[in-house]
Amino acid sequence: MKRFMFILLSIAILALPLMTTVAQDRNVFVYGHPVAFPNLDPSSGNSNENVVMGNVYETLTFYNAPGSAEILSPKLAVSWEASEDSLTWTFNLREGVTFHDGAALNAEAVKKALDRTITIGEGSAWIFGSIASIEAVDELVVQFNLSYAAPLDLILSAGYAAWIMSPNAADQDSAWFNDGNAAGTGPYMIASNEPGQRMILEANPDYWGGWSEGQFDTIVYEIVEDPIVLEQMIRSGDADFTYSLPFDNYGPLAGADGVSVVVTPSFQNLLILLNTVKEPTSSQLVRQALSYSFPYADVVSSLYAGLGTQARGPIPANMWGHGAELMQFSQDLDKARELLAEAGYPDGGFDLVYTHVAADLDEQQVGELWRASLAEIGVDLEIRGLAWQAQWDLALNDPANAQDAFGFYWWPDYITPNSWLTGMFVSEDEPFFNLSYYGNPQFDALVQAAATTSGSDRAAAEAMYVDAQRLLLDDAAAIYVVDLPDIHVIRDDVSGYVNNPGYPHVVFFYDLSR
């Protein structure tokens, strides 16, 4: 036993030197990433692999970080214009761009890439639903014919599905991409992929943007599920960038040497959709009572450690269409009791089911905190953690038997206020994401009008969106919990970092240097 321990320790000590022999001849950036990349196919991937896609592939247009002068800037397209009726769009492509496999970027390549995505039709491909056909008008000119008006420039900047891959790659199937192959135009190329463990990118020497001193040669994504390990890594300098730590840990981390915590509003928010067709939440009064029962302040200050902000309607603060003047619920249990009494539930006395994504501790604790408050007004909340799909299935199958409260994150597929309102609240014959089963013709009309006006008269559209949200708040179709921040931790010696919530958690390494 003793001898065995001795041998063990000797091995441990023998191996120690290796840990310190880091050859520093390459400029390496390490991204400590909390989850594995599920699907590396640029056409169908619509999850966390976007942090890779954003560096390996490019889109025709680029959505600028909020606060920029323009919403969009050119990427693979240098300019574009839409017809009067917004049904025909013409994009002029950048000249002299080649894919990683040597193929040239041209109109045919763009058509082939987007056709592939549309044909496969998975993931976020539905954002191209308006496209009737794509034509290669000229070597570098692509024309899109739409079947109905849509902001195609915005759509083509999307962080999912809008990536342009080389014509050769477009012939491949998903498995090819998922084996770690790629051919985009981006500044980095996939060098190796150890699924579930790490991925290494190397700089693309032929990148059209050119290279300069201090930019990174090598990017390593370290997949580490354990946030504590991530935290250890960023503290020790083993990682240069990470996110998804427990909210409580950012405070101490912000004060740590060599580390910056970058907090920016994101386009993501958390709502609790209330079932508007099932007793007792079918009663507007009850829904209002529930809205008054929710412990907003505790959730924001304690759960999110003050890093998020209480939502004010569904559209987050950094999105146009947000109604800064809209009313905001706050916890008021007396008021809640009154409303319940008015609704015919003087002492509460009913049970509610709240579902959330099983592994999501934040959503779970939101439920736990709410449950304690509800208990005070005589309502019992059952918290049910389900896999997202199961949660969704429950909501879809039969609204009358569905959960009463559905913990729901929303983020836009492409960034317009319409995404929140249409996606979650416009009436649907078959409920899809309108899982409040909300149906208000007045609301529907307002949102419809706003969408069509938005291209021509932004201010008018904005006013209509705010009015629409006012209806929602009055109806209390959902509890608007929190506008979530992007919280990113980055080493201080890296310069050039700006968060762009339009591309969640994507670090554009090309912009960075050390």
Partner: protein, 340 residues
């Protein structure tokens, strides 16, 4: 002759069990509470996408037909595709299964190397201080939750002592500067084949902590079993007869008695293996060990049933094979089976 018929019967049994496992896993996979097609479509799919995928995955066909396809694919060596990642499960398992096996085999080897001699001595000197200490260690080994032990071990050997890495199979530096060319998928073997000793040491270094944590249960079981069968064997008349014949304690313990006592211990190898796999399922995530355990726990969170079922099936087949091997070894060691 008897051995041959034993072999055939045992093989036949394994095949039968495999078919049973196949049916059982299929049944389990068809009571999923959520629509696999929606799952396959990814976050926020459109209804037409779901319908198309249902068709693509054959979920619109009757169950019997689905089972036929399922078995057909399996016999063709195709475990299917993950709904969540779209990756071929075969490809994934080629990486993840060796990782887990490397870990589990290391744990079982530790268990045998430590457990058998300790068990023999504890059995030989009952009621000694060593015996009591051993019994305590053995019970502790089988009682400790592996995932908790993993946390404690990380705290001691990583946070406090800084001797061993926190997790993963190989360090970033090794994979950047001394990448291992994958052949068998066992890092220790692959690195050794290519003479990549830096990476070999690095891999070993990463293996130690998870393997030790994982070995707690098998060490406990092996000690218990060896000790118990040793006690039993030492009370047999033939041991008394050996003592009466004046044979030395060393010969009696390690030659005569051990050969008898090793039989039940061999059974334990199979069990140890199973328990280590179980442990791996819980511990791999903590050690960021990219094995089937981590793979399947993620699949559980995503209700990624093709993965859960494929892992269940493959790991079970590995387990069946291990048990088969154990049984055959045992039959080979015991002349009563071999010659009867």
């Amino acid at each position: 002759m008897a051995f041959l018929s034993f072999l055939i019967r045992r093989l036949g049994l394994s095949v039968f069990v495999f078919v049973g496992v196949l049916i059982l896993t299929f049944i389990v996979s068809r009571v999923i509470p959520s629509n696999p097609a929606a799952l396959y479509a990814g976050a926020r799919p459109r209804p037409d996408q779901v319908a198309a995928i249902e068709k693509k995955l054959g979920l619109d066909k009757p169950l019997v037909e689905q089972f036929r396809v399922y078995v057909g694919d399996l016999l063709g060596g195709d475990l299917g595709e993950s709904y969540h990642s779209r990756r071929s499960i075969n490809t994934d398992l080629r990486i993840f299964l060796p990782a887990t096996l490397e870990l589990v085999i290391a744990a079982v080897v530790i268990a045998l190397v430590l457990g058998i001699p300790i068990g023999v001595l504890a059995g030989a000197y009952p009621r000694s201080a060593f015996d009591y200490a051993t019994r305590f260690v053995a019970v502790a080994g089988v009682s400790v939750p592996s995932f908790w032990l993993a946390l404690i071990a990380q705290f001691i050997f990583f946070s406090q002592l800084g001797w061993l890495p926190l997790g993963s199979r190989i360090s970033r530096d090794a994979s950047l500067f001394y990448p291992v060319a994958l052949q068998t998928g066992f890092f220790l073997i692959d690195a050794a084949i290519s003479g990549n000793w830096q990476a070999w040491l690095d891999a070993l270094h990463h293996l130690i902590l998870p393997a030790l944590v994982l070995s707690a249960y098998p060490v406990g079981v092996t000690i218990r079993m060896t000790q118990a069968s040793m006690l039993e064997v030492l009370s047999e008349t033939y041991v008394t007869a050996a003592r009466a014949a004046g044979l030395s304690q060393r010969v009696i313990l390690f030659k005569l008695a051990l050969k008898n006592a090793i039989m039940p211990t061999l059974t334990v190898v199979g069990l140890s293996f199973a328990y280590s796999i179980t442990g791996a399922f819980l511990v791999e995530t903590i050690f960021s060990w990219p094995g089937v355990g981590k793979y399947v726990t993620e699949a559980v969170l995503n209700v990624d049933f093709p993965v859960i079922i494929a892992v269940t099936l493959v790991v079970t087949v590995v387990y069946i094979l291990v048990n088969l091997l154990v049984d055959l070894t045992q039959a080979f060691v015991d002349p009563r089976v071999r010659l009867a």
